[in-house]
Amino acid sequence: MEKTNKLNSKDLINIGIYTAMYLVVFFVVGMMNAVPILYPISLFFVPIVTGIPFMLFATKVKKSGMVFIMALILGLFWFALGYTWTPLVSYIVAGILAEIFFKVAKFQNFKLIVMGYCVFSWGAIGCCMPMWVMTDTYMAHIEEEMGSQYVTQLMQYMPWWMGIAGLGIIFIGGLIGAALGKKMLKKHFKRAGIA
């Protein structure tokens, strides 16, 4: 086999498999999303658990583009599922940033790969954004209609800095998730001969 940096079919199939894993795990953990008040909690837990499939994926990533394609497909998926186009944008941005980290890490440096994963996980913020934007515009409309006491009250639950806090929560979850993923690699996948 000639060695090239172009993605071959095996790589593309791998991207698909790990994207499917990521999605399924995301979905199961993200079930908590059914209750909007729990967003901060699921923002924290999702990157922890998806760390396991992602760190396994990271052992297969040896070429540019793999991480970005995964992010792009996730964004497209959330778009098709009705989360509007905000996750598409956030995942494309997160995917490009993560790709840079992986490139600089030469697909080896563990610390940089962990950073890449945390940044990658930021893509999930786009899934919450429509909730914020939508409720925000709705609030503005209510404010016009019924005065401001509703809105100030609600703003206590949905403050503007929630977005930035969200990124922070995801980042910490990502760090834990990457550590968990690495532990599982060592404990199971390496010994089972698949990583």
């Binding site: 404990k187 199971h188 010994r191 089972a192 001969g193 698949i194």
Partner: protein, 436 residues
Amino acid sequence: MSGKVIIDDKDVTGQTIYDFNGKIGTVFQNPRSQFFNVDTTSEIAFGCENYGIEQQEILRRIGQAIGEMKIQNLMGRNLFALSGGEKQKVACASVSAMEPDIFILDEPSSNLDVATIWDLRQAIIGWKKKGKTILIAEHRLYYLMDVVDRIIILQNGQIERDIDAASFWKYDDTEVIHMGLRSRNPTVFQKIPSISQKKGVINIYDFSFAYDKKHSLLDIPMLSIPKGSIVAVLGHNGAGKTTFGKCLCGLLKGAKGTVEMDGVSYDTKERLKISYMVMQDVNHQLFTESVLDEILLSMSGEDEELDRNNAISILDSLNLEAFSEYHPMSLSGGQKQRVAIGSAIASAKSILLFDEPTSGLDYHHMLEVADNLQQLSNMGKTVFVITHDPELIGKCCNYFVFIENGKVKWSDGWNYISKQKLSEFFVPVDRNYEAT
């Protein structure tokens, strides 16, 4: 890798798979992992589409392939809803539609039931008539003996024998067994070990299960099994064998019926505690990071020292002591199966069910499984085996349950009549098939 490959006087060494341009088609062993699409029609078209064949031509080839494989009724279906045998037929059709010159089949029969093996045989005969070259890697020989022209026996990566079919027939049986090969003839049931002693019976009452009111998948008013026997659960694909097995193990929520053993009745939920199923894909039931932990997981955990000693003696009895610190997933298929058996012994289950434990195994490994089952039976466990493997049945089963359309058609120990019925089931007459 080194060496040379020459096809049609041309050295093709070092060419990529695409350079062959679909001239080589491969059918793999595992029906679950070789399809790429979700529905059957796209799957059969898949290879042709990848090679850029015109739409009309693809449709012609699909028509031809489904006609030859007799799978018109499977078109447009979801592949996930098909049985293993049906998936394997779709796999054959999708390779056939590429119209390759060379077919490579990797243990194509290992997941098929008796009737489907005969269909596969017909497909191979059809390809052969078209002048195709067909290379089959296989343990099961009986269905191929009058089809193949040449036999190559490999051992430790070397060609042990390379002979024509006629000379292979001249070998005597012991030599064939010595090479680890399966029987060349359809199994003739001769002596079957009898049930060692009378230990009582297990009674099954009113087993029933249905997804909806119209379609009953299981309906067994009453069935008696000698305790401590090794029961072969027989029937065609889709007859309800697995449903029966899951119901017996208490895995089917919503299933009705009780099992009575030693004067105690067990309902569905209670049966989870007394029964254990060794799955066909044993990877699903190994959870821990070492073989020893896997056994310990099934124990009560109250007295760790005692548990540990018990676990080690269980591993000893299964020839696994050397692997106790290995990751279960790093073991071979047979070893994994023994780990699963060990965990069942550890949890003191008295009913054990095996789902196709010998698919894809050569003669020696099949014997090993038969020994394991025998050992369990000697320990007083009642063993059920869902199987399509006549040689395994001949080696160790001593009670038979035949299931058809979710009902027990017959059940019996070893006698002249059951022998007759078994032979009829496993040696189908070439009904309406074109002769070779």
